[in-house]
Symmetry: C2
Subunit: 134 residues, 2 copies
Amino acid sequence: MEKAYHSIGELAEATDTKVETVRYYERIGILPAPKRTSGNYRAYSDGHLARLSFIRRARDLGFTLDQVRALLALAAQKKQDCGTVDALAREHLADIDRKISDLKALRRELSGLIGQCKQGTIADCRILSALSPR
Amino acid sequence: MEKAYHSIGELAEATDTKVETVRYYERIGILPAPKRTSGNYRAYSDGHLARLSFIRRARDLGFTLDQVRALLALAAQKKQDCGTVDALAREHLADIDRKISDLKALRRELSGLIGQCKQGTIADCRILSALSPR
DNA sequence: CTGCACCCTGTAGTCGGTACAGGGTCAACA
DNA sequence: TGTTGACCCTGTACCGACTACAGGGTGCAG
């Protein structure tokens, strides 16, 4: 058997989360409030640990907290088909693709500017003039 | 000759910025406060327009407002060499490269998950189990 | 029994804006 | 002349997703 309860610090360490963030998740209602010890310390169950792990992993994958809420709600309804989950993930993938191509365009533009000014003065710096109004 | 003064709306439209954002830039001190008309409307010079254009273009390139402040300060000192500007831009480029590779890793991970659940139920959805604690 | 790590609540700050509310100004048109 | 409607003003609160205190309480080891 595993340990019955975890302190907030243990939960935070196990999920690579700051203690303040765990409390924040409780405040916004995405992680249920746990029982308290006699000294008013939060006492988390393994269920809390699992839920927080899920949240953090989804956040790492770039889902917003609202999307995580949606995923958690879906996960709770075991009968439903997982097409909805798949759609959510696909939508998110499209977002990622957009971000990647935006960043690549940006990268091209910026790297074109770099290395053009060698020993010049600000007065004729190409980077600054590229930023100036045309 | 160009028009002597511009209203905040004109400035905003010319630089593809919201009016509120222009006022915000004034509040945080990145765009100097302009003169006022008799009716207390802001009256911007071409210098303001140029500075706002610079700010917006740098923001579009992904520089933070602090970096923009630094660039503006450098641009104001015409004697200095532009190695500093170049370094700032290179640093920013490295940030972008990091973001791109992070997003690519994410993309690989997420796209590996998609399409694995066909007509299944939530109970054995691979996306949800991939998100669950291991 | 003292020191220290940990926990508690509550509030404010971060970044880069955005969204009102509740008013004032100005030009055109009837 | 009156009135509509577009624009402008200030001030404040809000967004997401945390983070950082301040000012205190708890628990355990030496």
